[in-house]
């Protein structure tokens, strides 16, 4: 791997990983805010409106971070991955511009109304603004997934004589089967982040004995919505995604599982360290025949190992791929257990008084972020050595005229800037949480004359 390629990969990986910490939170919080607003409409209980207003603040901070770290992503296709952009722009230019045209305008227009328009909008109008923000953020996620899915599983294209890709079906790209299942799986992941953040703050308030009533409402919604998202995360979305991967990207699946040799009745390795040089797993803790069963529904099926593929087509970093996948899957399983315990205690009426479960919810705060990051690392490291799976190698995609030195310069610049952003984000969110969901007049827009919106 030459230097410039490494720098450009790190550049994109770092900025994308940092960026996605925020959209996963906004996409996860948006539907929960809509639920709080809906409950307020139905019950007239101001507690729910206060909850919505509180989470809208956290949403607002996270949204700003998502916007400012997201703009670089759209630029980096051209700045750092020029050759990839030139060759594939005829296809992926479409979902990327659709994101701007269909979702960014929607989000940016309604976010201001949602955050500051409560007093000049009717109650239903304000609910509508919240819903529009939710729709915009989820639509935005869809177009990004469509872009990634095409790189994972290219469809609806033909190639011109000069090697460039051109789209042959507008709907074909949007309805890529890979995109649909990846979207379902990913949005469950975002929702999981949202519920764990809401749940952790709820548990914190109960344990701290402040804003207890609000804390209970937070925790209850987190447990109920979380039970749904965490189960659907694994089954059916994770299951279908995994099997699609095994059929379309068998080398990736072998790398994820650390399966170096083809096996009949292949085991699932739960723990162990892959040794890529000697092609074995050290200290394996494995469940026999389970992998064959998960992929093919029968314990005797043959699963292709890495030995079936030329080494040049192996994922470029097998240990990292293996760990990313195992961390994602392990945490996902743990989330189901946590949510199931919470739901059981909620049903028994003991959730708010059981200190150990409250502590678990509090301590779980970072894990969904890690799981989502690990999931994306599995997808993107697993796609290597291809930038367009099977058709274009990552090594052929970067900007040849941007030297490693220039790339490193801007990578370091982003690292410095993002450290500041991270500190600012944590500081502001902590202040918001300390301040709490107190009763206060909604921030109002003081410019212009009021208009009535149904």
């Amino acid at each position: 791997m030459n230097d410039a390629l490494m720098i450009h990969r790190l550049h994109f990986a770092f900025t994308a990983t940092f960026h996605y910490l925020f959209p996963q939170l906004t996409m996860g919080l948006a539907p929960l805010i809509v639920i709080f607003k809906t409950m307020y409409l139905r019950t007239n209980n101001p507690l729910y409106n206060r909850a919505a207003r509180f989470w809208a603040k956290v949403f607002g901070i996270s949204f700003v971070m998502g916007v400012v770290t997201g703009i670089p992503m759209e630029f980096e296709f051209g700045t750092n991955w020029a050759e990839f952009s030139r060759v594939t722009g005829g296809v992926i230019g479409q979902p990327l511009v659709m994101e701007g045209v269909f979702s960014f305008f929607l989000e940016s227009a309604f976010l201001g109304m949602f955050l500051y328009g409560e007093q000049r909008l009717s109650r239903l109008g304000h609910w509508g603004a919240a819903f529009a923000v939710f729709a915009g953020s989820w639509l935005s996620g869809f177009f990004i997934i469509v872009t990634d899915a095409w790189m994972q599983h290219p469809v609806a294209f033909d190639r011109a004589a000069d090697g460039t890709f051109h789209v042959t079906s507008f709907w074909g790209v949007l309805m890529n089967p890979w995109a649909l299942i990846q979207y379902a799986h990913n949005m469950c992941g975002a929702l999981t982040t949202g519920v764990f953040v809401v749940g952790a703050v709820g548990a914190y308030y109960i344990l701290e004995n402040v804003f207890v009533e609000q804390g209970r409402a937070f925790l209850k919604l987190a447990v109920l919505a979380g039970l749904f998202s965490c189960i659907v995360q694994i089954f059916p979305t994770g299951d279908i995604h995994g099997r699609l991967m095994a059929s379309q990207q068998p080398a990736t699946t072998a790398g994820m599982e650390g399966l170096f040799k083809t096996e009949v009745g292949a085991p699932v390795v739960l723990m162990g360290q892959p040794d890529a040089e000697n092609q074995r797993i050290d200290n394996p803790l494995a469940a026999n025949k389970v992998l064959s069963f998960l992929i093919y529904g029968t314990t005797t099926a043959k699963v292709k190992g890495l030995n079936e593929f030329p080494k040049t087509d192996w994922p470029t970093n097998i240990p990292l791929l293996y760990y990313s996948y195992h961390i994602m899957a392990g945490l996902g399983t743990m989330f189901v257990a946590v949510m199931a315990c919470g739901a059981f205690l909620l049903w028994r009426g003991k959730l708010y008084s059981t200190r150990w479960i409250l502590w678990i919810y509090l301590l779980c705060l970072p894990f969904p972020f890690i799981a989502n990051t690990a999931g994306w690392m599995t997808a993107e490291i697993g796609r290597q050595p291809w930038v367009v799976y099977g058709l274009m190698r990552t090594a052929d995609g970067y900007s040849k005229y941007v030297s490693a030195g220039n790339g490193l310069f801007t990578l370091l610049g982003f690292m410095g800037l993002y450290v500041i952003l991270a500190i600012l984000f944590l500081f502001l969110v902590r202040r918001t949480i300390e301040h709490g969901p107190v009763e206060e007049p909604a921030a109002e827009i003081t410019s212009g004359k009021p208009v009535s919106v149904a």
């Binding site: 703009i71 952009s85 594939t88 201001g112 011109a160 051109h166 502001l428 827009i445 003081t446 410019s447």
Partner: protein, 348 residues
């Protein structure tokens, strides 16, 4: 169809310049014109509810460019690597400066956010002007249509220029002056009292600077790249654009004299639109000209996307943008009128 997409990209970028232009102008201006924190907040509130949507025009414009002319996107974005990355950093600082202040109320934090906002806005205006200057001057395109420009070389406009040379610096300064004038006109429209008087006075003082720089940059453009007149000579009707530029400038002056805020703002919109359209009409059908050999120019004919994508794109793109413009009309209507009332919740 390529002609249509050329103009759609031009319209998007023009829309960005006109809309985010006044955000940047207000940003560059607010440290100088506002005397108190209260006034500064009022200025920020004039753009509070709209700047984020305005910035989306850059994303949607860049996306449209990528979609329609992938080669231009690939070549231009990687060739202008360093200045674009700095634009990204500045956009981050600007966004933070406008948006996070409402969560922290203290002199020190406000000062920091004001500084970020003012500094980033000022530099962004200069960068955008210099970028346009680079497109008109041309870049050393290689046979594979790529290039890489250092930030500066010898400050001359020869075959191996840098991002900054005497010509693009003029363009950058013109952009700064024009956007500050635009921002002052916008902010005057949205404010009242003392601040409003000062904004109008600032606009009046800036007008001669903008008029002079417009003339200088026109002369400099004709000097370094006489070929910009080709399209104008082929289609003399185009000469109406520079006439409109002059008319817009005149109209800004008259409106400022008469204290007609709305007319002054609309005239400065029209000035920016005509400048952008004039530049686009001059370069067409080129997208990026070569400073070494005209045969290497990136044009709409060698950079465009597939026929199917462009044909279908006309349908959904037009629909999507029509809806987006609808949102804009709605938001601007909702926040129309002058800023009044307390500084509580400065308005998103």
């Amino acid at each position: 169809m390529l002609l249509i997409w050329f103009w759609l990209v031009a319209i998007m970028l023009t829309g960005y310049v006109v809309l985010d232009g006044f955000d940047l102008g207000v940003g560059a201006l607010h440290l100088l014109v506002a005397r108190t924190e209260e006034e500064r907040l009022t200025l920020i509130r004039t753009i509070g509810p709209v700047w984020d949507g305005n910035e989306v025009w850059l994303l949607a414009g860049g996306g449209t460019l990528y979609f329609a002319f992938p080669l231009l996107y690939a070549s231009g974005f990687s060739g202008f690597y360093l200045p674009l990355m700095m634009v990204l950093w500045l956009l981050i600082l600007r966004g933070i400066g406008v948006e996070l202040r409402m969560f922290l109320h203290s002199t020190v934090w406000s000062g920091l956010f004001n500084g970020c906002f003012g500094f980033a806005s000022l530099l962004l205006a200069i960068f955008y002007g210099a970028a346009l200057g680079n497109v008109i001057r041309g870049v050393p395109l290689q046979a594979d249509h790529y290039f890489f420009l250092p930030l500066w070389t010898d400050w001359k406009t020869g075959p191996q220029p840098g991002i900054l040379d005497w010509y693009t610096v003029i363009a950058g300064v013109l952009a700064l002056a024009a956007l500050v004038l635009h921002g002052a006109n916008y902010a005057a429209l949205k404010t009242s009292g003392d601040l409003n008087v000062r904004l109008r006075r600032t606009a009046g003082r800036l007008w001669p600077v903008v008029a002079a720089l417009t003339l200088i940059s026109l002369a400099a453009t004709l000097y370094i790249r006489p070929t910009v007149l080709h399209n104008y000579q082929a289609l003399p009707l185009l000469y109406v654009i520079p006439v409109l530029v002059a008319a817009s400038l005149g109209s800004i002056w008259i409106a400022l004299r008469r204290g007609n805020e709305r007319a002054a703002f609309l005239s400065s919109c029209s000035y920016l639109i005509c400048m952008m359209v004039g530049a686009a009409a001059a370069v067409y059908p080129n997208l990026l000209v070569s400073s070494t050999d005209p045969a290497l120019n990136i044009t709409i004919y060698n950079a465009h996307s597939g026929e199917h994508a462009l044909a279908v794109g006309l349908i959904w793109w037009t629909f999507g943008m029509a809806v987006a413009v609808g949102y804009f009309v709605f938001v601007y209507r909702m926040f129309r009128g002058k800023i009044t009332g307390s500084s509580q919740g400065y308005g998103h």
